[in-house]
Structures are given as C-alpha cells and as structure tokens.
Amino acid sequence: MENSMADKFQQKIDDDIRIEPRDWMPEAYRKTLIRQISQHAHSEIVGMLPEGNWITRAPNLRRKVALLAKVQDEAGHGLYLYSACETLGVSRDELINQLHTGKAKYSSIFNYPTITWADIGTIGWLVDGAAIMNQVPLCRCSYGPYARAMVKVCKEESFHQRQGFEILLTLSKGTEAQRQMLQDSVNRWWWPSMMMFGPNDADSPHSAQSMAWKIKRFSNDELRQRFVDMCVDQAKILNVTLPDPDLKWNEERGHYDYGPIDWDEFWNVVKGNGPCNRDRIETRVNAYEKGAWVREAASAYAEKQASKKAIQVA
C-alpha cells in the first residue's frame, strides 16, 4: 500500500503535476519542505533587522520611503512563507518557537552587521540578487503553496535589487570617500553572498533527493556560477572590484572562474558564531515578548465583540 502510494506520488512529480496540501505525500517530503520553507520564512523576518537598522538614518526621504517599503515587503514574504509552511500541518507558534530556541536556522548572511549606508545598497544588489537567483526556480517547485508564494515574492524582489543598485550607483559617482565606502562594503559582502547558495554540490548530501522531488531545480554550484557571471558585468558599471583575485573569464567553459570559498567561516556562522547571531535572535525574542500584551488585548477585544454579537442574536 505505502509503496504504491509512493510510486504514484513520484509519478505525479515526474509528470510535473503539483502536490497540494491534502494530497498524500511521503513523510520525508513533508519534513524536507517544512524545514526548507520555515528556514526561508525565518530568513525573510530576520533579514528585516540589518536593513531596519538604517531606516532612521537614510540620507533622504526618497531613500527612506524606499527602504521602509522594502523592509515591509520582507515581512510580507515571511508571512506568505509561514502560511505555505502551515499547510503542511505545522503551527505558526511551533515555527516561531523553533526560531527563538535556535532549533531552526535562517540564512547566515543576516548574521553580518550593516555598518555603513553603502551596506544597504550592497544588500539590495548582492543579497537580494543572490536570493532572486535561488527563488526564481522555486516558482516551479513541486509543492503548490510554496511555488505560489514564490511567484508573489519574486514579483517584489526586483524592486529590492534595483533600489539597492541605485544607492550604489549614486555612491560610485560621489566623492572619493563615498567610492571607498562602496568598495569596502562590497569587500565585506561578496563572499558571504557567494555562500548564500549553500555548500558545494559534492558536500550537499540532500540535494539529489530534493532534485528528484523537484523541490530544487538547479544545484548550488550551478546557481552560484550564474550569480558570479551576472555580478561581474554589473560591478563594472559601479566601477568596483569584486574581492577575488582568481576571478577571470574562462573561454572554454563560457563562465567566470572564481576562487575557493572559506567554508570554515560559513559553518562557523551557521553554528551560531557569526558577528550578529546572538543579537538577531535576542531582538526577535524581545519583539515577540514585548508584543505579547498587544496580542492579548486583540484576543480580549475579539472575544468581547463576539459575545456582544451573541447577546444581540439571542
């Protein structure tokens, strides 16, 4: 019985028929999706923090409204993804609890600090840029609710990347100090952005199964290569150097070669030892706990209104 269900399921995947919440699915497929979608949701929410840091200090009103809108979008992305995740039978409270207790991870890029205004531009260009690379193929993911959420997310992401690039373009045409600020920012964010695609294919044991389930459509290294190829030309427009001495065009491959990634740093940050890990979680927990009275008041109000209605009906 179990076997024939599994065969039928795989057949649907192979035929590109989407899986919907109440359809039968293997437990491992459900678990993989819960892990991936919740990590993704947490990343959107924690990702609001490094950028939120600069809202009050944006250099002018135009930049401030754009940054506010972007950070608000990320909150929306978090909600789309939490909703998609909940269709798999896990509750919102459980998901938030997993984030707050460190049981669930989020993208380690958000454990780096935003120390200059240029970092806001660089995040838009490189971090949102890498996120888009990852997310566009997810619009065709086999799980319906995840794919639909990603379509909405991707529509909004292109504004994020463009607003970031515009910030950098302005700096690149500015004073010497502004150009230096831009270069310094790119120096700090380049490698962490490259790590956003995850470990090299050879060290990514779950990838093959995710590909067979069509959760993933391209390998980590394939996506990373596309990202590099895209960024090299864009960096020229900004007159900025990507901090990789091994970066060079490979005629034979038709791609840019790039230097080795410091995976020790990556795993160190994943394990909780990045510059901002503790601060990020503390901020989230704080916001949740300090917001408790608002949630309680809203519940009390809803109850009161409902009981008033009940009396009127009776």
Partner: protein, 93 residues
C-alpha cells in the same frame, strides 16, 4: 497566535474579474483580518475588493475520493462542441 483563527484571503484585482484566492493569514477578528489582508496582499494596488473567509468554514472534497467525484464528467464527450461532425464549408459555427 495559535488561538487566532486562520483566514483565507480572496482578492478581486479589478472590476469585472472574479475574486481569486491569494493566500491566508492569522487574525483575532474579521476587522484585523481585512486590514492585514490589505497590508499584506494589496501593497501595490493588486486589488479593488477583498473577501476573507474563516478557513475552518470552507467545505472541501477529500482529494482521495476525487477520482470517483469527478468520474461522471469523464466520458461525456458529447458535452463538447468538437463531438459533432459537421462539414468544413459550414461557416460561423
């Protein structure tokens, strides 16, 4: 937030079109659900009208029985215009 009901959100993107399901959210009551639906699903004028429905009040068929449920429609090809044999020189039909 667990005790807050889940609401399904339907948006009419412009006059003349059906409302379409766009997603869901948790809210303590209808007013909050509507406001949050506006903030989350209509930030770029995606809608001119919002419906919200408590998820638990939606009645749905069981997907495991969907074969039997939709079976009666499967072999009634005479419900389609192409079922009828007519000469090629017949126009406007």
């Amino acid at each position: 937030m667990n005790d807050w009901p889940l609401w399904e959100v339907f948006i009419r993107s412009k006059a003349g079109l059906h409302h379409r399901h766009v997603g869901s959210l948790h809210a303590s009551d209808e007013a909050m659900a509507l406001e949050n639906a506006r903030d989350v699903y209509c930030r770029r004028m995606e809608g001119v009208s919002i419906w919200i429905v408590k998820s638990e009040e939606i009645v749905a068929n069981n997907p495991e029985n969907s074969e039997a449920l939709f079976d009666p429609a499967e072999n009634k090809i005479y419900r389609h215009p192409t079922f009828y044999d007519l000469p090629d020189n017949l126009k406007h039909m």
